[in-house]
Amino acid sequence: MLRVCDLMHKGVNCCYPEETVKSVAKTIQASQFRSVVVVHQSGEVWGLISILDLVRHHGEDLEQLSAEDIMRPYMIDVDPQWPVERAIDIMRKRKIEHLIIIDPHAGPKRPIGILTTFDIIRHMSQIKTGTYEQMLRVYDGTSISSAP
């Protein structure tokens, strides 16, 4: 059985609720992630700002808006040991593309990673991890015979 922790990627992009939306936009732009997790000073998850939530405020004064104003409160606790089907059901029902993974062992509401639709599609496409590295080894080196 495929579990959430097999497909998710570890680590999240974080910001504090009082940060301006401008700085959230800069975080998203610089990191190439498509969401930012809003965390309290204590490290607990408060909400999620996806790239779509952010774009709704295009054209407004971003210095005057704070992350708390535009975030969606996040109430779903997805455990890394859940089967992937359960996580996909939540994504479909709520029409969201990002799920914050919360590990109960790391503390209450502590984010440890994110599962996105793209992570699942990578699994569905059945392209094996490591394929690109192998191709690079074939084509960039001096010796083609070192290819696996």
Binding site: H58, L62, R92, T117, F118
Partner: protein, 128 residues
């Protein structure tokens, strides 16, 4: 001056045929690191777009048996390079889509001209 779609759009787009299986479409997306694929017919006319969320709907089914035309989000609203950016952003938030297909404003021509990506709008927002 009001910004237009042509200020932020990228020319060209990743496309697939309408009779391709979803597995192939997923592979095209993963290899190119894209979260969309524009579906065209034999005459290169736009039929619609497949996003990561539409492929997710087929999870657990036989991906080789489902065709791209069965899951695509049909292309209904024409956005041209001369449309206003606000209009396109409204369309994105209303339909919850991250990419908008831009077609040429010449009459009768429905080939893909380019694509407006959500990342480019965020880059514009992050600019000082």
């Amino acid at each position: 001056m009001e910004k237009k779609v042509m200020n932020l759009m990228r020319k060209g787009a990743l496309t697939c045929g309408e009779n391709m299986s979803i597995r192939e479409v997923a592979q095209i997306m993963v290899v190119n690191g894209a979260r969309y694929c524009v579906v065209t017919n034999g005459n290169h006319q736009v039929r619609g777009i497949i996003s990561a969320r539409s492929i997710l709907r087929a999870f657990g089914k036989d991906l080789d048996q489902i065709m791209a035309k069965e899951i695509l989000l049909p292309y209904t609203i024409a956005v041209t390079p001369n449309s206003s950016l606000k209009e396109a952003v409204d369309l994105m938030s209303r339909k919850k889509i991250e990419h908008v297909i831009v077609v040429s404003d010449q009459p009768g021509n429905k080939a893909v001209f380019g694509l407006l990506h959500i990342e480019d709008i965020v880059t514009d927002m992050a600019k000082d």
